[in-house]
Amino acid sequence: MIRLRESGMDARNFRYLTVTAVLLIFFAALIVVNVSTGSVRISFRDAADAIFGGNLSAPGYDILWKVRLPRIAAGIILGGALALSGFLLQTFFGNPIAGPYVLGISSGAKLTVALMMVFILGRRLTVSSAMLIISAFIGSLLSMGFVLLIARRVRRASVLILSGVMIGYICSAITDFVVNFASDESIVNLHNWSQGSFSGMSWDNVRVMAAVVLAASVFTFFLSKPVGAYQLGEAYAQSVGVNIKAFRVTLVLLSSILCACVTAFAGPVSFVGVAVPHLIKAFVKTSKPLIVIPLCFLGGAVFCLGCDLIARSLFAPAEMSVSSVSSLFGAPVVIYVMSRKAGRD
């Protein structure tokens, strides 16, 4: 025990615990504020009465259960998913500015979801959560495939990122065409969604995304060990027994499914995947996956709850897209990381 203390273990653990505690406080506070603010103000006591008391006649019962709570749940689940997706991509490419939005993977998912929705809605059929996720997953894998092809040809990290941004533009442009050709009533839905928004979530949506994201996140957590070895590079990871091929395929599939889940339900939400893992690592001053992975999830949830609160309350009753708000906070972090990285090289 004495030796452990000398080695600074306590100082490190203290830092991890402090960061976790601060994030949890923000997390709880944002939930409370998100529950009570909106077009109808619901006092904290009424909200508690409606949520925990099961009091059907509590003021705002319907608004809470049908609108705000599923929206908050979606913010938490999808925010966490985005941060983890970014973390996995950064591990895969060994590049701190890789992320699902920056690499065009979100936009690829957006395109296939838009195509699927126009096709299905045009036939007056209903779109299920599973259809959303599957089409988004196909799109994110296609984009990821393009990015991988480019990454194979060029080793330069900056070229990789630029190519990803371009793929994103191409997919978004095609999505715009598709949306504009679609019939009137579906456009209204599609337009909001294609800008990035947590609004209009149903409990069915939340159940499906929770199942998928939870499974993928637990899987990611159990990748902590190889991710840690991979931080020393592929050759060293292989030399301690990591199956590199299987590991890389797993990273691609997991990051794509997490990103697909977000895009399927909320559209593209920008820069969370780059900003959150970076901020978390800067706070805890380590890149140990066992610490960073759970905190990334929590951090992503806090980040998205905060962004969504601003998006829906700043110009209420009008709503901004959550992606605009997340860009405002996330993009500067990306610029900072890029400039620091360029300075080091």
Binding site: S7, G8, P96, F222, S224, K225, G228, A229, Q231, L232, G233, A235, Y236, Q238, S239, V240, G241, V242, N243, K281, K285, T286, S287, K288, L290
Partner: protein, 252 residues
């Protein structure tokens, strides 16, 4: 059959194209083999192939009696450790974190270090005289310290064979001699077999049991240092003019 490492007519290279061929060598436990030869002669390719980073194009390499391709990844990682030329650039890792990666083959599903693992990390750090820098950021240490840390990482993997690609390059004489002496004492005391490439001939002469001269993908000579380090052989290996060898080894 008391050879620990055996290579029989290895053919090594990339994408099916051989870079070096007809590599045959046998080593006992605790012996040090050094590969010398001009740049691009195929030394690194040989080292990468016997550590399974590259697939052998032909021939068989044996480790403790089994062919290396038949040893599972996990088992192989408990037998063989490497020190490579590439410098890892991990984010926010301390030297201790880097060394601890060497315990990977022994930890559980989540890679959490036990008290014993931690003890082994510390003893490896002490062995290379790097215990005092264990809390430093790995990206901020000097080349000499870096090589100590990478060796400590290999040591705490508890291998039976360590393969090193140019472990003394970029090091000043103090660090270089210290690293090579550590390898020598591990070979003598713990019976660890060492295979490495070196550019510094005077170091190779000092530390090796066997020296393999590789030139243009062929083994020119394989013998004890006393035989190899003569004017004729070294001049022929490096295409040197008369007199260069004396200049190199004049003081030794």
């Amino acid at each position: 059959m008391d050879y620990f490492f055996k290579a029989e007519r290895l053919s090594v290279g990339y994408h099916g194209k051989p870079v070096a061929e007809e590599i045959t060598v046998s080593l006992k436990k605790g012996q040090i083999l050094t590969l010398i030869g001009p740049n691009g002669s195929g030394k690194s390719t040989i080292l990468k192939s016997i550590t399974k980073q590259l697939t052998l194009l032909g021939g068989v390499a044996y480790l403790g009696g089994s062919a290396i391709q038949e040893i599972s990844a996990k088992e192989f990682s408990r037998k063989a450790a490497v020190v490579l030329t590439e410098r890892p650039k991990p984010e926010l890792m301390t030297c201790e974190d880097v060394v601890a990666v060497g315990r990977y083959p022994y930890t559980g599903a989540l890679g959490v270090l036990s008290g014993m693992d931690k003890e082994k990390v510390y003893s490896a750090l002490r062995k290379v005289n790097a215990f005092d820098i264990k809390d430093k950021n790995f990206n901020e240490i000097s080349d000499g310290q870096l090589q100590r840390i990478m060796l400590a990482r290999a040591i705490c993997q508890e291998p039976e064979i360590i393969v090193l690609d140019e472990p003394a390059s970029f090091l000043d004489i103090r660090y270089a001699v210290e690293i090579l002496d550590t390898l020598r004492s591990m070979a003598d005391e713990s019976g660890i077999t060492v295979i490495m490439s070196l550019h510094e001939l005077n170091y190779a002469k000092r530390v090796s049991d066997w020296v393999m001269c590789v030139k243009s993908g062929k083994v020119l000579y394989l013998d004890a240092p006393g035989v190899i380090f003569t004017k004729d052989i070294i001049n022929r290996l490096y295409d040197l003019r008369e007199g260069c060898y004396d200049a190199l080894f004049g003081g030794l």
